[in-house]
Point group: C2
Chain length 313, copies 2
């Protein structure tokens, strides 16, 4: 199996490159190193099945040359700006990195007769829905540029599936945590406390409550959906069945850094930033029917992430 992983040097992408090379697949990783990091894939460079290309997916000449040369069976399209806060400051980032990359990948696939695409989507397409979300839930009313750009990408994938016989696996991620993450609440807290351990600033009132899934449980989900989902347009939600509040995350981070009891300042308000969804919960019965089992619950995922970042595990 010959596969392209876009964003393959990124947080989730690099874990996926690990898993796919372990399966014996020949893996081409394309990354512009916007969020990707050299150290995430350093260990893969010695592997003959692993090929690294440093360019932007929006560089049409380069992407077409790579498609011509490599003759992919499947594209795992993970290249994206995954930093939701960033997108509210510069709207073009999500438009280009999330939506237009997807559009251009689909066009390149069509031109080169590659018909299988895995796409990393998100709960953010639903906006602030306030109920348990199954895959068919409507209405979809994103409140972040990240969510809007991923919904736009899903819409275009749907058209390529229907019109050109593509097969698509779309996995809508929750918050994903674990080693190699580049942003997000755990990462932010640790960076803040390393800089100044005397107190912690928390965005919002700390009651935001969501599922956090450990990155290796996400990789398991990607592989089970890829192996077993048979529908041409296969959409799945993945999560564990637990939610963790920001206040619980504060407690875990300060405890693991031996800083329990330091003053915590909350910026206030129900949401951390414009576009933040303060609560969401997935119905994961569909992926469970494929046999999916996660290992870590949400709070365990947070703790293991904190310990990995701190070098304790």
């Amino acid at each position: 199996m010959r596969v392209l992983v876009t964003g393959g040097a990124g947080f989730i992408g690099s874990h996926l490159c690990d898993a796919l090379t372990e399966r014996g697949y020949e893996v081409w990783c394309v990354d512009n190193f916007y969020l990707g990091r050299e150290e995430n894939i350093e260990h893969l460079k010695v592997n003959k099945q692993f090929h690294l290309s440093r360019f932007d997916v929006l560089d049409k000449a380069k992407i077409n040359a790579l498609f011509s040369e490599a003759k992919f069976d499947t594209v795992f399209h993970l290249a994206a700006n995954s930093d939701i806060q960033q997108g509210s400051q510069n709207h073009k980032i999500d438009l280009q990195l999330n939506f237009l990359t997807t559009y251009e990948i689909l066009e390149a696939m069509l031109a080169h007769k590659v018909k299988n695409i895995f796409f990393a989507s998100t709960s953010a397409i639903f906006g602030d829905a306030k109920q348990v979300l199954n895959e068919d839930y409507g209405p979809v009313k994103p409140i972040s540029f990240y969510g809007a750009s991923k919904l736009a990408a899903e819409a275009y994938i749907s058209v390529f599936v229907k019109n050109y016989g593509f097969k698509a696996w779309i996995l809508r991620f929750p918050n994903v945590v674990g080693e190699r993450c580049t942003h997000g609440v755990v990462h932010d807290f640790i960076i803040q406390l390393r800089r100044d351990p005397s107190h912690l600033m928390v965005l919002g009132d700390g009651t935001q409550t969501k599922p956090y899934l450990y990155v290796k449980d996400v990789i398991k989900a990607i592989l089970i959906v890829f192996d077993k989902a048979e529908e041409p347009f296969a959409v799945y939600h993945v999560s564990n069945e637990h939610l963790t509040s920001v206040r619980e995350i504060v407690a875990i981070v300060t405890e693991e850094m031996s800083l329990s009891g330091i003053p915590i300042e909350y910026s206030g308000g129900k949401v951390g930033w414009p576009g933040d969804v303060p609560y969401f919960e997935y119905d994961i019965s569909k992926i469970q029917k494929l046999g999916y089992k996660y290992i870590y619950n949400s709070t365990e995922s947070i703790r293991i992430t904190v310990r990995k970042i701190l070098g304790k595990e």
Copy 2:
């Protein structure tokens, strides 16, 4: 009231310019004349409330200059490629004319502090859903580039409403027919029969069955939603409560052209072209609660359109 109508020289846009000038609004019409036509607005040129600009909405310098000068209260964004078949041949058309125009209009509105947008959306965002569609129906799985681009546009409007306090009125049109239409089944049949009245070629098997709404009933819906819908992100479906099959349209066109009984050739298959949705039906109870009443049912809308195009009315 100072309003911008993008695509104001087009089929529906020009009827809307008529209605808004009749209300006494000052109307700026921007059109690139891709589908817009000089003759649709000829009669408005003598009206001092009506201002015509000939440029493309994607021309940022010109759109920003117009926003600076005109100080709009509301934008009615109708500029689009409305020819679904066209989009399946050239994917960039819908991407640019439907999605990117909307994105750029939203950015221009944000820059110039204009917060009210009416947006012309479509049943095509749902794809081939096979059930009566209310506004909150999910999943949304478009099967045409037209549908995908309009869904992407809706997604971005949702974000601007939530993040920047915009107010949006989104009306999802069914098939719209009437004088000044530039394409679609009625238009195609008449053009074909004027060229060669000996027989008629019909795409699909003729069983495609949908609501067709007369353009003036669409304008009524736009105005009632604009006047009465109070939600910040107000999404409404509009239609009459009747469906018409392509075979019925064939009968009406041939009868009105005194060609009943000519041989009809069907290309076969359930759909007319890639991306065609062969059946859909809207739940219109939400817009009816605002007091909306249409005048013409679907078959009457077809007949009046045929008669108008033929110059009989």
